[in-house]
Symmetry: C2
Subunit: 400 residues, 2 copies
């Protein structure tokens, strides 16, 4: 019978599904679950800093409130708290512009769905968070890349040249503070030029600010959304500052897209868990989140400094990195004689250390280029583990 129908079960799947590969990050995550290992692999906050008691109290408070178990509009208590945080972040905005999501990933997914059609382009930094490519995959877009400089971020000039030459991406995706994986923050001058390009060429920007609250410097770089609230979608997250297990993030959106984002969210999951929203709002109302963030920054600054000191002590001459002023990653370039793929494969086996090779973040695979970077996370392991892990990595590199 299937012969007469002239198709097989495989051919009925959407075309994007043919390209699905096991995730490198996922595999690294599994490796990191070995009890004896030290993981520099994933981007997670320190679990011991999660305010479990205060959050439990918040949950207990809200579970007596009837509407938390029902369907409902987004919690205005939560959007009010996020608006307060955005004010502190240098990006004042009305609560009605804040859209609660199931983590930053859903924010990316919803925004992308407003602009993507089959055959369109997207513009991404040459090293980037792979989640944006997974989001775009069903539309099989033409992925354009723009170089990223380890000192000042995205190459705005190269971007302008592409736009001038006719590139018309559905959106530009960028992580302008504490970039993942490069660790760099986009300079002030480049910020102004970038939003001007978005306005001129009418290209929406998705500003992924997952790491923006984790800054270890007094230099204030304004969010892109604060420079242009017509073309920039700001995407925020509690995953790196509170806990990824909450799955709560938010979008600050240009006003004209509000009803569309609502429609996209409705289709995906109707709404974010009310219990989670109300509990988080209650936690934020009953705590000084600013004090909590200060403690977080102090701890992560110490861990960053431990990592940088250990790298100087144990990594070979010729290895290079820029100390990150924001975020949770150090991006290290190793001399050409070291095979990074081998390093990433052998490190968990021989030294019980997990890391992600730069390869995993390359957006489009170059043919004639040997990737020489590794990404190391310093927020999850404590300073003692960081020193131990970097020393073990250094030992392995010496043997290579």
């Amino acid at each position: 019978m299937s012969d007469t129908l002239a198709f097989t079960s495989g051919s009925r799947l959407a075309e994007w599904t043919h390209g699905v590969q096991p995730s490198v990050l996922h595999q690294a995550g599994l490796a990191a679950q070995r009890s004896d290992s030290i993981s520099f692999a994933l981007g997670m906050p320190a679990p011991e800093l999660f305010p479990a008691e205060a959050y439990t109290q918040a949950l207990t408070r809200v579970l007596g409130v009837r509407q938390v178990t029902e369907y409902g509009l987004p919690s205005s208590a939560l959007t009010a708290q996020i608006a307060r945080m955005m004010q502190a972040r240098g990006c004042p905005c009305g609560e009605e512009r804040i859209f609660v999501t199931a983590g930053a990933q859903q924010g990316l997914s919803l925004i992308a769905s407003l602009f993507l059609e089959r055959g369109r382009q997207i513009m991404v930094e040459e090293y980037s968070y792979g989640g944006i490519l997974q989001v775009a995959a069903p539309w099989q877009p033409d992925v354009l890349t723009v170089p990223i400089d380890a000192e000042s971020g995205l190459d705005v000039e190269a971007l302008e040249q592409q736009l001038q030459a006719g590139a018309r991406p559905a959106f530009i995706y960028t992580i302008p503070l504490g970039h993942n994986p490069v660790g760099v923050s986009l300079s002030l001058e480049k910020r102004h030029r970038l939003v001007e390009l978005a306005r001129t060429y009418q290209v929406p920007i998705i500003e992924d600010d997952a790491y923006g609250f984790l800054s270890y410097t007094d230099e204030h770089l304004p969010p892109l959304h604060s420079l242009d609230d017509e073309w920039v979608f700001y995407v925020g997250s509690f995953s790196k500052i509170l806990a990824p297990g909450l799955r709560v993030g938010w979008v600050v959106m240009p006003a004209r897209f509000q009803h569309l984002l609502g429609a996209a969210k409705n289709a995906q999951d109707l709404q974010t868990s009310n219990i989670t929203q109300y509990a988080l709002a209650s936690y934020l109302e009953h705590t000084s989140f600013d004090d909590y963030l200060t403690r977080l920054r102090t701890t992560y600054r110490e861990r960053r400094d431990s990592m940088l000191a250990s790298l100087r002590d144990h990594f070979p001459a010729g290895a290079r990195w820029h100390p990150p002023t924001t975020g949770i990653f150090v991006w290290i370039e190793l001399p050409a004689e070291y095979n990074i793929t081998e390093l990433a494969r052998r490190a968990p086996l021989e030294e019980g250390v997990a890391l992600i090779p730069g390869q995993a973040f390359i957006v489009t695979q170059p043919q004639v280029y040997q990737e020489r970077h590794i990404r190391l996370n310093f927020s999850h392991p404590n300073s003692a583990k960081i020193r131990e892990g970097i020393q073990r990595l250094g030992n392995l590199i010496q043997r290579m």
Copy 2:
């Protein structure tokens, strides 16, 4: 500058966004929030039956466990509990086949993304849950419909004729037990014929079983997935049996699609909240969920009977309905002289009663057909409110 680029901001939006309309259900939900109103509008469980204390205890237990705040694999404790429930539901399956989602809506969204491409068809009952259309909207599919009979469900013969005539839907979406909005359950004979059609024509079925655990009869109708686990995706939910505010559902999937569903979920939101997953698993481990479900069924059966009795007392001769044996809705056909649109508009204003007109569930708007149905929910209001609300509605109908 924008002139030379020859496009406007509007044209950059994906085409599906042009068709976005305010949701009728959403508006009814807002109306239902008036404190003096009685709502038959939404499909929600009785909030007073939510086991708040036991669930709070479960949350407190799990918040001490470190991994609940982190990223992680789906909770095997939860999939084990759901597997137990599926066994009781007459659909034994391995835990590895259970895929946890953020509510049934996300299940629909993820499954649809595996099969939809621009220009494909989908097959839906002529009255159905609008969420499936929202899910499919970005692909702008050709929506085919099949009649649904209030006594025995989907018209399998009509479906077969369409398939024979060449229809090739990306999937068939059906709610075979306690149908929303029609309230009907698909007969055993039709179940066997339906899955046979799926196999013969190699068309996946999405079996939305959101109401399947709420059965008020001893007649056991097997889930479609238990009759064919190669072509039927079973979609379950805690929203109607525990609380929609949790946003937890699940899919029981044909084994060959497991990695693809994982990739789609990863792109949408990485994972469902670990805290929610672990708390729910712990709650289920520490309670007799079967006893809880029995209490729920007893209460809803009483409420259904109150509604049916009140309808007999207060609705006009000529109004017709079938007592639902499963689910939470009564589907009522009113005589042609009553204008349903007017009824649904005036009921909240004049009688403080919210309901959804049948119009809201028609998949493709017929041109020459006046919709004569209303959908009434009986799980959320208690019996006293049900009697009061039906009497008020009866009064209004008399005035029309």
